[in-house]
């Protein structure tokens, strides 16, 4: 095994690595094995804040790009033979470091596994390899009026294998379900190289089966620690006839919170999501978003009701939403232009380096950090206050290093938009000036944020996973206490006897301690 952070390897380890790389070249071809620094360095980070000062520790030893299940099996066998870690990587758009190597090794990039194997327009399934992106799939499906309704913030770039590995959240999950609801079955290469298929029915296109353990879900959200998905059968739908994004302004977060509840309680089947933007988020948007800059000052918080369905369904639902928001709650409709434009920009409005500010108001280039707890509706106000207080403390201490970009809350319950919310606080982090001290402060801030979520009865992650530094201890030893984490370790050790798959994640190395 490797020692993290060391630039040179022990002689025997280097020899094994050389032999392994030679075997990898034989197995999948020279062309798809990369040892040059640029190709390895660019596959070490994901969009979560990255320790630039410690980049070397996360650069994999070799990058491989297989195209078939058989090639994946070969790679896994080679890794086992030489006891070299494998980190699977799809779009690498996740925010939980799932695809970041912690112990170097083989970076298995699935992007060449990009075949759409079958579109079944009778039973409404699409079977794909894991390197296909949702956008790619939908460009094909929409030509025949179909759609795969998984819509993360990274929709235009997220790749299906990664969505499965991280158990992703969909912005329209309140209407169409999230990843576990949308993945019907999978083919998986286990850490030993054995290939299995999980999911209901002999044809793997059955959505609900009561036979056996529900193993399929074990292989959703494992962050690459239990194997590699090499094929997935997905639940597709007709492309929606109509959408209606309606944005309403209120005077305060509290008013928005009440309005959101009444919208949830309308019982509309076409409601795909209810979103709340808190005052700090509106202030952030007023800095540079042309849709928000001219909004009247009394608009301090915003609620979005989002409907999808047939035009008839959406029109009826819309009327009820407007009655509730405008007539009953006296909220201000923000207008057609912002409703249409801002919903369409939802995917990538928040990833812009120039958003950061220091105390003097200067633009300070920052990356986007997104906390993503799942919080029950009733607890949102108190969590919000505590989170902002934590971030404020770090922002004041480290001027120009951290910035509070406000909060969003998205309904989190699949198919029924009420009950709990993906609760997101967005934090600007200045990576260019990253030092070990600042990194530790960042991790400390994250730990405090995670603890608040847990104290409120929430989960520390609704969409990315609990594998990041700062989160992971809280996840393993608090949220997953009462037996779950112990069982995870048993499962990990049973499936992955050599700890090959993405070692270090979820602190699962401890499963192997004697």
């Amino acid at each position: 095994m490797y020692e993290v952070g060391k630039k040179t390897l022990a002689e025997d380890v280097q020899k094994d690595l050389d032999k392994a790389i030679s075997s990898l070249r034989d197995a999948i071809g020279n062309e798809y094995v990369f040892q040059d620094v640029p190709n390895r360095a660019i596959r070490s980070a994901v969009p979560a804040p990255f320790p630039l000062h410690d980049w070397e520790a996360h650069i994999p030893d070799v990058v491989v790009m297989p195209s078939t299940t058989e090639e994946v099996v070969e790679i896994v066998k080679i890794a086992n033979e030489y006891k070299i870690p494998i980190v699977p990587r799809a779009g690498a758009t996740g925010l939980a470091d799932g695809a970041v190597p912690l112990k170097k090794g083989i970076l298995l990039d699935v992007k060449r596994m990009n075949q759409i194997i079958e579109i079944d327009d009778i039973n409404m399934t699409a079977t794909v390899q894991p390197g296909v992106s949702m956008l790619e799939l939908n460009k094909v499906l929409t030509r025949v009026g179909l759609f795969y309704p998984d819509d993360p913030a990274s929709y235009p770039c997220a790749i299906i294998g990664g969505r499965i590995g991280s158990n992703g959240f969909s912005l329209i999950g309140g209407g169409y379900g999230h990843v576990p609801n949308l993945v019907i079955s999978q083919e998986i290469v286990l850490p030993t190289g054995k290939v299995i298929r999980v999911g209901g029915g002999g044809g793997r296109k059955i959505r609900k089966s009561s036979v056996g353990y529900n193993i399929k879900d074990l292989f959703i959200g494992h962050q690459g620690t239990l194997g590699i998905t090499t094929e997935a059968t997905l639940d597709i739908c007709k492309k929606p006839e109509a959408e209606c994004p309606a944005f309403f302004g209120t005077n305060s977060f509290e008013e928005s919170h009440k309005l959101a509840f009444d919208l949830e309680m309308l019982g509309l089947r076409s409601m795909a999501a209810v979103l709340i933007f808190d005052p700090q988020k509106i202030e952030f948007l007023r800095r540079d978003d042309e849709a928000y800059i001219p909004q009247p000052k009394e608009i301090r918080s915003v609620v979005l009701a989002l409907m999808y369905g047939t035009e008839a369904e959406v029109t009826v639902a819309r009327d009820k939403v407007f009655e509730t928001a405008v007539d009953k709650h006296k909220a201000i409709y923000l207008g057609d232009e912002i409703s249409k434009g801002d919903w369409a920009s939802r995917h990538d409005r928040y990833h812009i380096a120039y958003h950061g500010r220091n105390k003097a108001g200067e633009v300070s280039m920052m990356t986007w950090h997104c906390e993503d707890a799942a919080i029950n509706h009733s607890e949102l106000p108190q969590v919000r206050k505590k989170w902002h207080a934590i971030v404020e403390q770090f922002k004041s201490k480290y001027d120009g290093i951290f910035d509070d970009w406000g909060m969003f809350m998205y309904t989190n319950n699949p198919f029924r938009p009420y009950g709990d919310y993906l609760t997101e606080i967005d934090i600007g982090v200045n990576e260019l000036e990253m030092t070990p001290e600042i990194w530790n402060a960042f991790v400390d801030m994250k730990r405090q944020i995670a603890e608040v979520a847990l104290e409120a009865g929430g989960s520390i992650s609704a969409c990315h996973g609990g594998t990041r530094m700062g989160d992971v201890e809280v996840a393993c030893y608090q949220e997953l206490a009462e037996g779950t984490y112990d069982l995870m370790k048993e499962i990990k050790k049973m499936l992955d006897p050599n700890n090959i798959m993405n070692p270090g994640k979820y602190l699962l190395d401890s499963a192997y301690n004697k």
């Binding site: 042309e290 800059i293 959406v314 029109t315 407007f322 249409k340 434009g341 200067e362």
Partner: protein, 62 residues
């Protein structure tokens, strides 16, 4: 507190003092226009990608 912004080439623009330390580029009016037009068309495209039609406010609420 939200910031005050300026108008440049007919569009909102950051106050130049905020960019003093990191401004490295020269962009002219037509390039600005090109970005804005592409943005608007891209947003329309995203709406069309997710649904055939975007339903907006009932007339009485517009």
């Amino acid at each position: 507190m939200a910031e005050s912004v300026t108008i440049k080439y007919g569009h909102f623009h950051v106050e130049s003092k905020r960019m003093e330390k990191i401004l490295t580029q020269e962009i002219n009016e037509h390039e600005t226009e090109r970005i804005v037009r592409n943005r608007l068309e891209f947003l329309d495209w995203m709406n069309r990608h997710f649904a055939y039609k975007t339903v907006l406010a009932p007339d009485k609420y517009k």
